[in-house]
């Protein structure tokens, strides 16, 4: 399934995307492009206080504005949802504290951006004007902003009634004594503290919702810029008590998600409730500034990691204590995010003993939740930074410390100390390839020269070897983690009478190119042209069954379902062909889109003839149902484990603290590739998002809990001018877990890049005495680190 010259084989080829033309010409419809007759607009009044009692909502000034028809406080709206709080689907422990999170706050606002009142209006401008004109009387309460402060004695409480700011503590310590013993006997111990700053996901399309009621029969159609129409349908039914069969959820073209559209948001529930109550379509479009606090944020952790190693740097045990910022409430999978990293703090290394414990705390800030990588970038950052520190302690190069600890290529399937079974990989081969591509020898020679010269442009090399768990996930494993749903995916392959094919997938693309890739999979199996295959998705009326797109699961779970459904179609087609050829089906082979008796191409039944025969049903085998269609729900037996090594080379201006990424090499093993062009694109974008955490992005709050980085002028999503040039390659070890041998690539770049870049910055600054740089490594931060290391004031 790698690149091939055989034109009939589409898998493995750089096939251009069929999604592109509609997007390139402006024809594609995003949520805000839609318009429904009679729609009313919602404007949301958001708390300007991080923590405050709401004394009153005064809408009189707003009601003076033309076009504003109503102002509704949280109390006015409460009857619409009653007890229906926003759902959290991942109660990671039985005693997890999960305070009720209403779509609009009634008595206490818990974070800046918390909805406190709603304006209804006849236009988007009137809704915005109205929301701005509502005055809310607040009585401020003390706010908890910093997570370490949140768990300190006497800290103010985010939720007074809970009596604590802790939501849960989740340990994964298979053998505590062995860990203690390893640390007691270690020749070298490395202990580090890292801060994962909060990040704003910032897909270029903000969120948006239109809820359209069917008044006569109680139906509801919810259009939302979401990654998860299927999950959203279930959750809307549960939250508002609307019968699920009356709900249809449609995700139109969605302009990126990165995890932040993997949620059930207040605005979705609000618009649905209002639409059902009023009998008119109700819509809301998020502004970018609103998104800073109304949409979940990512990361937000303080990590303590310790490694116990022998004198050669072979690691025996890893011990991690994590403090994770939940924000003010638990959104859909907020509490599960640290767990997704919790299994991977030993990285791609063969480490015998494992200790991980996460305490998750509430703060008066926007809830956190899944953001590209979700837990795994944090874990990778900690282990990869710590491995570099270990290399320094032992006196070997970063590549050598990794080689000494890698899980060996012949050790797969490998049972990890955290209790996972890794599918396949050759981590050393991947690293060797990256080292070769980066031309490490000359880079290090240049580094040595500049160090000797005392140059103010120091060079640094940063490694990051990662492994992640993808293909979320085996349903039974999710059950053991208390996750509220399964991890399967559904697909239907429907052959039409004219031999055109519809593929219906339960995974929901928003930029990943599913239509192109799925058509390639089916085309190869059926021996037909990909253009004769339509891929349908993202509408629960068309694709009723699915679990959507997140966690790099689409290809390895959803794509596998498509692959298997196509097999099922072929099985039935084979029976029809055997019947027509009066042959035994075992004697048939499928060659170039036709069944023939093995070795006898003269008597062949082409696919089109079978499709038509299945439709007319004039002459099918006895007892066979007409039509040619198959449905598969695939529950993966295991996760998949993509891995790779990335190398960043940076140049740091020691006078100004400015960091430039001058080279970036990425070698990834995502198993077999259906479309390497799409794989590369995912790596490019992922790497930039990861590098952006390292160098630019930070959701900054002041001590009062006010967010400072509200818009894209303050929150530094990098432009082309900042982006490095990526040199990308792959190493393939097919995953034995699924029939295509695929693993997943959606998050790999983001997981790998952050530690690669910071390790490079620290490597560049080593002569100055710097051993750590906090993220983002802005010029100011880097300059201060240098100054501090040299004994100056910070």
């Amino acid at each position: 399934m790698t690149m091939t010259d055989d034109p009939a084989t589409h898998m493995g080829s750089h096939r251009l995307r069929r999604e592109d033309p509609a997007l390139l010409t402006g024809e594609a419809q995003f949520i805000d492009d839609m318009s429904l007759h009679g729609e009313i607009w919602v404007g949301i009044v958001r708390s300007t206080e991080a923590h405050a009692t709401i004394l009153g909502v005064d809408g009189s000034a707003a009601l003076e504005i033309d076009g504003v028809t109503e102002v509704l406080s949280g109390a006015d709206l409460a009857p619409l949802w009653g007890e229906g709080a926003l759902p959290c689907a991942w109660p990671v422990t039985d005693d997890m504290r999960n305070p009720a999170h209403l779509p609009v706050a009634t008595s206490i606002a818990k974070y800046v951006g918390d909805a406190v009142a709603v304006v209804l209006a006849d236009s988007r401008y009137a809704a915005a004007d109205g929301a701005a004109a509502v005055s809310v009387d607040y009585d401020p309460l003390p706010a908890v902003v910093d997570i370490e402060a949140a768990v300190a004695e006497g800290a103010p409480l985010v939720h007074e009634d809970l009596g604590t700011n802790e939501s849960y503590t989740w340990p994964l310590i298979p053998d505590p004594d062995a860990v203690d013993e390893a640390f007691a006997n270690a020749a070298v111990v490395v202990g580090e503290r890292y801060v994962q700053q909060r990040l704003i996901p910032a897909p270029m399309e903000p969120r948006g919702v239109i809820a359209a009621p069917g008044v006569a029969n109680g139906e509801l159609t919810l259009y939302s810029a979401t990654q998860i129409p299927h999950i959203l349908k279930v959750m809307t039914a549960v939250t508002l008590g609307i019968p699920e069969h009356k709900i249809r959820v449609v995700a139109p073209s969605v302009g990126g998600g990165f995890g932040c559209k993997l949620n059930v948001y207040a605005e979705e529930i609000l618009c649905c409730a209002l639409a059902m109550d009023r009998g008119v379509p109700v819509r809301w479009t998020e502004s970018r500034s609103e998104a800073a606090t109304a949409t979940i944020q990512g990361r937000g952790q303080v990590q303590h990691i310790e490694l116990a190693a022998d004198a050669n740097g072979k690691v025996q045990a890893v011990r991690v204590k994590l403090l994770a910022d939940m924000g003010a409430y638990l959104q859909l999978v907020t509490p599960g995010v640290p767990l997704l990293g919790g299994f991977l703090y030993h990285g791609c290394y063969d480490i015998a003993h494992y200790s991980f414990e996460c305490t998750s705390v509430f703060t008066n800030k926007t809830p956190t939740d899944a953001y590209r990588g979700a837990g795994r970038p944090e874990a990778t950052y900690a282990i990869e930074r710590a491995m570099d520190s270990l290399a320094v302690a032992v006196g070997v190069t970063p590549e050598e410390i990794r080689s000494r600890n890698f899980i060996a290529a012949d050790a797969f399937p490998y049972e990890s100390c955290a209790g996972l079974i890794f599918d396949s990989g050759d981590y050393q081969a991947v690293l060797d390839k990256a080292v070769e591509m980066a031309d490490l020898q000359s880079v290090r020679a240049e580094q040595a020269r500049r160090r000797a010269d005392g140059s103010n442009r120091q060079i640094g090399v940063g490694f990051s070897s990662y492994v992640e768990m993808c293909g979320l996930a085996p349903s039974r494993v999710l059950a053991s983690l208390n996750y509220g749903a399964g991890g399967w995916e559904a697909a239907t392959v429907r052959v039409l009478p004219t031999a055109k094919v519809q593929v219906i997938t339960g995974s929901t693309p928003h930029g990943q190119g599913h239509e192109t890739s799925w058509s390639m999979i089916v085309a190869d199996k059926l021996g037909i042209d990909p253009d004769d295959i339509e891929v349908l998705h993202s509408d629960t009326a068309i694709s009723p069954t699915g679990l959507d797109t997140y966690g790099s699961r689409s290809l390895s779970v959803g794509g596998t379902a498509v692959f298997m459904a196509t097999d099922k179609v072929l099985d039935k087609a084979r029976l029809i062909a055997a019947h027509q050829l009066e042959a035994n089906e075992d004697d048939l082979e499928y060659v170039d889109g036709a069944f023939q008796v093995k070795g006898t191409p003269t008597a062949a039944v082409p696919f089109a003839a079978i499709a038509f025969a299945a439709f007319t049903a004039h002459d099918l085998p006895d007892g066979m149902e007409p039509n040619l269609e198959a449905h598969v729900t695939y529950d993966p037996p295991n996760f998949t484990f993509p891995n790779g090594t990335h190398i960043a080379v940076v140049e740091v201006d020691t006078d100004t603290g400015n960091v430039d990424i001058v080279d970036y090499v990425a070698v990834d093993d995502c198993g077999n590739q259906v479309n390497p062009m799409i794989v590369e694109g995912q790596v490019h974008g992922g790497v930039l998002q990861g590098a952006a955490q390292a160098l630019y992005e930070d959701a900054v709050y002041n001590e009062d809990g006010q967010i400072v980085t509200v818009n894209l002028g303050d929150y530094l999503v990098p432009s082309a001018a900042e982006a490095p040039i990526y040199r990308v390659a792959s190493h393939v070890t097919p995953s034995p877990t699924n029939p295509m041998g695929v693993k997943g690539i959606g998050e790999a770049g983001t997981i790998a890049a952050t530690p690669a870049v910071i390790n490079a910055v620290v490597d560049a600054l080593r002569p100055t005495g710097v051993t750590d740089v906090t993220m983002p490594a802005s010029p100011q931060t880097v300059w201060r680190a240098i100054n501090e290391a040299q004994g100056g004031a910070s």
Binding site: L16, R17, E19, D20, P21, L23, L24, T25, G26, E27, A28, F30, D32, D33, S35, D66, G67, T69, E70, S73, D122, Y125, P203, M204, P206, S253, V254, G255, G256, D277, R278, G279, V280, R288, S289, M437, H510, G511, G513, E680, G681, Q682, V683, H684, G685, G686, L688, Q689, N711, L712, G713, V717, S719, A720, A721, A723, I725, V728, A729, G749
Partner: protein
């Protein structure tokens, strides 16, 4: 503050949208743009001051009535239903809304529709040939996989068209700095840069040289 009960939905809608009722609305606008000369074309709709604006959009003259504070991007999207031009921010930072105004690329969220009165506007809907053949820049984006979710794409393509027109001798850094005002969260930009370079025809097409 009491919501109208469900059975009143129809009455409620009529009041919102009935032009007869609308004409009787008080003329309550108090904010003004500070433009002294309210033209004779000023009308009022549902109590809002409206201005007539004429734009030549993608070669067709279009007249519309907008509030003076209506942004060009909203006039294009909401009034003319040309929804290809996207909105990604509220601080003129993202470039998703980029169109050509009199041949120059402009962020259509940074100007009022009234400021564009009489201007030639080209949006993404207007760059392909009449027969549907994509503009070379659109084609290059397609061939170089320079889009994923496609949300930044219309603005990026418009900015790139104008960049190449203005600076035909672009190199990699020129493209990167030229497109600094257009953010893309998906692609990491490399394929965008390669697409633009391919159209500019100066540098080589970097996409293969970067592949191993």
């Amino acid at each position: 503050m009491t919501p109208p009960p469900r059975q009143q939905a129809l009455t409620y809608l009529r009041a919102l949208y009935d032009p007869e009722a609308a004409n009787k609305c008080p003329q309550r606008w108090t904010w003004a743009l500070g433009r002294g000369n309210i033209s004779a074309s000023t009308v009022h709709r549902q109590g809002r001051r409206m201005e007539s604006v004429t734009l030549a959009v993608n070669g067709t003259e279009r007249s519309l009535e907008v509030e003076p504070r209506t942004l060009l991007v909203h006039a294009l999207r909401d009034e003319l239903r040309l929804t290809g031009t996207n909105i990604g921010c509220d601080s003129s930072s993202c470039g998703a809304c980029t169109v050509l105004v009199n041949g120059q690329s402009a962020k259509s969220c940074t100007m009022f529709a009234v400021q564009a009165d009489g201007a030639d506007i080209t949006t993404i809907e207007g760059v392909a040939d009449a027969d549907g053949t994509m503009h070379p820049m659109q084609q290059a984006f397609h061939e170089h996989h320079a889009l994923q979710c496609g949300y930044c794409t219309p603005g990026m393509v418009m900015a790139a068209i104008s960049l190449v027109e203005e600076y035909p001798e672009l190199d990699d850094q020129g493209v990167r700095h030229g497109l600094e005002g257009n953010l893309c969260r998906c692609t990491g930009y490399q394929n965008i840069v390669n697409a633009v370079l391919a159209v500019a025809g100066s540098g080589s097409d970097g996409s293969n040289q970067d592949r191993e």
